[in-house]
Symmetry: C2
Subunit: 374 residues, 2 copies
DNA sequence: CCCGAGCCTGACAACGTTGTCCAGGCTCTA
DNA sequence: TAGAGCCTGGACAACGTTGTCAGGCTCGGG
């Protein structure tokens, strides 16, 4: 569970600052102890407070706040005035409780700091915004437990829907939530053991085309460095690699494939191993952006030129010498498609779960077109 | 205001899917119409439902759910069983209403897709997580109205605190919220017209040092391309530039300074202008990562070598020819510092607003050390 | 056998909002 | 002038949870 590690108690104690410290401290500005008049100290004014001040009924305030008809201009003015004076703002928690929908959706991804997920997240946010919803973000750090913890926390907040980039491979824990009506779409990787909407890139086809590209430029000894094989995208891309090699009738040596964490040290070692020995690879296909970046660094120090095609586009790839040829996937499109599907679920337009695959695009910039330097 | 543009009504109608379409559709899987037994159709089970099924009182369920003491193992077992069977999950909205704190904080930034904000956001999230809080994210798209709209929407959700990267320059609209107890920290840029905690980088000093670095390498005609001057960071960096030049006794020509949107086309034009004419600049200082990237592209096509120092680090900057010298700021540290300060406000440890300035770091990689090519 | 202490358990109110429904006052018409 | 109908405003319950408090049970000691 999420747990507090400090004295900040998320859902507790409304004791105001000055009381807690035991004595009233008067800082250079008094803002933090200065409360609105007529409000219980430390609490926000409610509609009841507004109604009392304006001399009207509770419901009349509600009507004004929500722009409902049936209020005289004069009454409305009085209410507005009271709202201003008290600094009232409607409590959406209470509203949610009454109405049933929260107008918020959750996005669980691996790491917001990863350049691949930024645009994806932004795209989801834009769609949410267009539908009047807010976005709650969570990073799973590629940890299945943390993913589950986050997802369930979001469900407890009663998000209307969830966009999940799975870290784990078993999502049966989501069944009760989905049954209970939480719209759910998986992105980038499929869900495990449950039937749900999925939006993915054509990882297999993209990788296959990237490797074919290298083969077409005369390479036969081609290395593959990818993420942990339990990650679906990694497995699919590896499958693409194998297929391309097989189709070309090239037997694949075990030493040419390296799967594991994308930690730079591991990748660096893997690349160096492939590039040394009696039969070094003449080209490398990298399984994602982080791997690509590390391999570029290794190749920069390497004596012979080595061809490279990477999965995922990377910024400035065109300015390197040589430019980095990549299989690009459209992160924003993934996010947008998923979010749109989510809202179609909420609309009631969608019935059966579906799997949507977005195409990838080979962008040639030079590194993939280097001939084998034997 | 946030507004729905589709038929998804955020806070309305609990009519389930099959009812809305008017007829019951039976898809290949029945998951979306399949509800839990004993639950009002389309609604989630509540503690009341659990209590009824377990044959206990409401409060007993509450106790079990919250791990409070005073429940017999046997009773607890029965309750747990009912929870499982019904797929109950506590409704945090109701809990929030009762308890007063939401255990969530809001982060309003410019654009989640910008590589500078990803790590910042992630850092805020990590701190929030350590304090048991969730993070709600919003992009202002550098639009003051949208910033305000987002901030107020977050306040209506009763977030416990706000981390804001300001787009606008007047934040008096936040005064009622701060008075009402919403913890608030501004990051990257100071707040306008209100007294609040701020965490910023040393934009002035960083830019000054970057330009000094160019001067030290013999440059005198140095250009500055930055963001719109109304943005605080842009203004500060410009001030750093001016100061460095002034300190060195170099008069600055108007033609050497270009401020405006970071749109590539604008930046490209600005760079080309500085580089042409009778007295072209021999070095350029760029005001942020987006500008730097565009200028690198321009310089790559340029005949003479031109020195470059950019504000903000960029990925792969070390692998370009020459490597890009930058004034790096630590986005994650900005986020972490701000978030920690936010929770200290919530703790009650903090009283007076403060301004915290984080140092920047000059990273030399080659582009800033090119001599002037006159 | 009775009584008090201590442990479980549940009834009830409250959090702040919105939907329902009704009352009272007004206008308009026959 | 009376009755119908409309408009405005407000009382009340409900949303799902938790804090308070009191009642009932068991058990041990007198």
């Amino acid at each position: 569970m999420l747990d507090a590690t400090s004295s900040y108690k998320p859902m507790d104690s409304r004791i105001p600052v000055a009381d807690r410290t035991g004595h009233r401290i008067v800082p250079e500005t008094t803002r933090r102890t200065d409360r609105f008049p007529g409000t219980r100290y430390g609490n926000r004014p409610t509609m009841k407070d507004v109604a009392a001040r304006a001399g009207v009924g509770l419901k009349t305030v509600s009507r004004v706040v929500n722009g409902e008809p049936g209020v005289t201009p004069e009454t409305e003015r009085r209410v507005q005035e009271a709202i201003e004076a008290l600094g009232f703002r409607r409590n959406d928690s209470a509203r949610v409780l009454r109405k049933g929908r929260t107008a918020s959706i959750g996005l669980v991804l691996e790491d917001l700091a990863d350049p691949f997920y930024g645009p994806l997240s932004r795209a989801v946010e834009e769609v949410a915004r267009a539908h009047g919803a807010l976005l709650i973000n969570g990073s799973s750090a590629e940890d299945a437990d943390r993913e589950q913890e986050l997802v369930l926390a979001l469900c407890a907040r009663r998000v209307d829907g969830l966009v999940v980039i799975p870290a784990g491979d078993d999502h049966r824990y989501l069944e009760p939530e989905i049954k209970a009506g939480v719209a759910t779409v998986f992105v980038d990787r499929p869900a495990g053991h449950i039937d749900a909407d999925v939006v993915v890139s054509d990882n297999f086809g993209g990788a296959r085309d990237g490797v074919r590209h290298l083969i077409a430029h005369g390479h036969r000894r081609i290395g593959f460095i990818g993420d942990m094989p339990r990650i679906h995208t990694a497995a699919e891309r590896l499958r693409g690699y194998r297929t391309a090699m097989e189709d070309a009738g090239i037997p694949v040596a075990d030493a040419w494939m390296s799967l594991g964490v994308t930690d730079p040290e591991r990748v660096r070692r893997a690349a160096r191993e492939m590039l040394s020995g009696p039969e070094p690879v003449t080209a490398i296909f990298t399984g994602n952006n982080r791997v690509t970046v590390t391999v570029i660094r290794v190749l920069a120090e390497h004596a012979r030129p080595v061809a490279l095609v990477g999965f995922d586009d990377i910024e400035l790839a065109d300015l390197l010498q040589p430019g980095v040829t990549v299989v690009a996937q459209d992160a924003a499109a993934l996010g947008r498609t998923a979010a749109e599907r989510l809202f179609r679920q909420l609309d009631g337009t969608l019935i059966a779960p579906e799997r949507i695959e977005l195409p990838t695009r080979l962008i040639t910039r030079g590194s993939g077109e280097l001939p084998p330097a034997d």
